[in-house]
């Protein structure tokens, strides 16, 4: 039997079959194209094509003033907008040595964790859809809708908030914010329970996901996976614990760890993270101090001192990093983003090797990429 390669199959015959998946395939959650080299039903190799959603965000940042760049960061990972705003604001704050008031830090953490819940809910919904379950997606979208209703009441927009400012927030939260969030958490918990009960240990769902695309801890580290994909392989690494930022060191939460590193672990870990996020929000609400959220900068044009910073944070999809260079003018000299989706996507080739075509959809789904962030 001849060696299987890109050009020959198991019997040494040339492979004629090139399967084109995407860019409009519904399972790609965006516009992502995979060229699959298949030997029968087995995937031999894959060539991913990205860039269909490329907007040149990093280049655009160089032409915008510092406060205008927040709107661009909103549009990078468009499912976790608050997390993206936070990382950019932290970069500029570190560059300028700005103090952020306690209250704004807590409100930021609350909103970011709620956004993490919303993002993971969307993941559960699409994961179910990828595996063929329609009902959980309805429950999850209902829960996500509730969270977005809160975001609208707080920031005025459901997705592109533009709410965080350097050293503070745009305005204080509404008066009934705390009771509203508490009420929301109860509902979100019930929604998660419901979809968890329906989907997680469903026999068909288990059969589709268990043991698919196993990543060992070494492989996961080698490929630079971060976030839930890395933790599913059993590596205890969370930026919120490893290098606590904001007020995360004052909050008590666990980091769920997977056992096998297969697709089901990646799925179930996110379900567990929702419960941990709920815990974080509850504690942050209890500790929420009174005070001002106004930035000390006022409304003048921002000109940070020349210099460069790198900050990192834990996004729903993994570790995001922002490398910001300032030359002392009113616009950033360079903004480089280390997007978690893009780096996680690099492991796709390894995961898809020797898998069935039918599993391709769930493997890509379990990576949970957002193409807005991959292509930027």
């Amino acid at each position: 039997m001849a060696q299987v390669s890109k050009t020959t199959n198991r019997n040494g015959e040339p492979i004629e079959m090139l399967l084109n998946m995407g860019p409009q395939h519904p399972s790609t959650h965006g516009v992502f194209r995979m060229v699959l080299w298949v030997d029968g039903e087995k995937i031999v190799d894959v060539e991913p094509h990205i860039g269909y959603l490329h907007r040149g965000s990093e280049k655009l940042c160089e032409g915008e003033q510092y406060n205008q760049v927040i709107t661009l960061f909103d549009r990078m990972d468009y499912i976790a907008n608050f997390n993206n705003e936070q990382i950019y604001c932290r970069a500029v704050e570190k560059l300028m040595g700005l103090e952020v008031s306690e209250r704004s830090e807590y409100i930021r953490v609350i909103l970011c964790e709620l956004n993490r819940i919303a993002s993971h809910m969307l993941f559960i919904a699409t994961m179910g859809l990828d595996a063929g379950a329609m009902t959980p997606s309805m429950f999850c979208f209902r829960g996500r809708e509730r969270i977005q209703g809160l975001f609208e009441a707080v920031s005025g927009a459901r997705m592109m908030h533009n709410y965080f400012r350097f050293g503070g927030l745009k305005e204080d939260v509404p008066d009934d914010f705390v009771p509203q969030v508490r009420e929301l958490l109860e509902l979100v918990k019930a929604d998660t329970d419901e979809s968890d009960k329906l989907l997680s240990f469903n026999e068909i769902f288990l059969a589709r996901l268990k043991g698919i695309a196993v990543m060992t801890a070494e492989d996961a580290i080698d490929y630079g996976l971060t976030g839930p994909c890395l933790r599913a392989s059993g590596v205890d690494y969370d930026v919120r614990k490893a290098a606590p930022y904001s007020v995360y060191d004052r909050l008590d939460f666990d980091v769920p760890i997977g056992l096998d590193g297969d697709c089901w672990d990646r799925y179930y870990l996110r379900v567990q993270e929702i419960y941990q996020s709920i815990r974080i929000v509850e504690q942050a609400l209890d500790q929420l101090p009174e005070g001002s959220v106004e930035s000390s900068l006022g409304r003048r044009l921002l000109r940070p001192p020349a210099g460069e910073v790198y900050v990192r944070a834990e996004n729903p999809r993994g570790e995001i990093g922002v490398y910001l260079i300032s030359d002392g003018s009113d616009k950033p000299y360079r903004v480089k983003v280390r997007p978690p989706s893009f780096c996680n996507l690099s492991a796709l080739k390894h995961m898809l090797k020797d898998c069935w075509i039918a599993d391709c959809v769930v493997i890509l789904g379990a990576l949970d990429i957002v193409l807005g962030e991959v292509d930027r």
Partner: protein
């Protein structure tokens, strides 16, 4: 076999739960399938819809003086404005030396970020609750001054709008002057 039956039961229970009143809404009316209201789906108080210009009732002119601050602050360059001498200032009816002559916002370019409202020193621009403004032409969403003022006035009436600079004064307990006196204080 047993597992499949268990799965069936779980699904059945979920279905029974789902038989409660539906949570989805028929756009644009509110309510559920059984009880329907015909007004559009309400938005929250802070909702940021398309921007529009405000109208100063006490003087009878727009707040906007075409100072170009919002235009320079806009991330997408969706606005343009032209300034003129204020005829009411010459008649000493207004404290604004300059006033807006033409103002245009291309709502297709606008990303609803609210930066223009934040930087405005004259309370002249607001994020309205307007969000259903599709047209069939590419340039159909380029709104001019009169249309902007119309949308803005509608928003002012609907929400009992108070100029933000005066809102701050009311909170701090300072003198909340009205009309030309306050406008004079602002211009100084």
């Amino acid at each position: 076999m047993f597992n499949s039956l268990k799965g069936l039961v779980v699904t059945l229970v979920s279905t029974m739960h789902g038989l409660r009143a539906p949570v989805t809404r028929q756009y644009p009316s509110t309510g559920n399938l059984l009880k329907r209201h015909d007004e559009p789906t309400p938005v929250k108080d802070r909702f940021m819809g398309f921007p529009a210009l405000t109208w100063d009732e006490t003087v009878g002119e727009p707040y906007c003086t075409s100072c170009m601050v919002c235009i320079r602050g806009c991330p997408t360059q969706c606005m343009s404005a032209v300034m003129k001498d204020n005829p009411l200032f010459i008649e000493e009816k207004s404290t604004r030396r300059k006033i807006v002559d033409t103002f245009e916002i291309n709502l297709n370019r606008c990303i609803l970020c609210g930066i223009c409202v934040e930087v405005c020193n004259f309370d002249a621009i607001v994020m309205t609750h307007e969000h259903e403004m599709s047209t069939y032409n590419r340039n159909g969403d380029r709104v001019d001054l009169s249309a902007l003022l119309e949308i803005g006035q509608k928003h002012q009436k609907a929400t009992d709008w108070i100029p933000p600079t005066k809102r701050v004064k009311a909170v701090t307990g300072g003198d909340t002057g009205t009309g030309p006196a306050a406008a004079e204080a602002e211009s100084k």
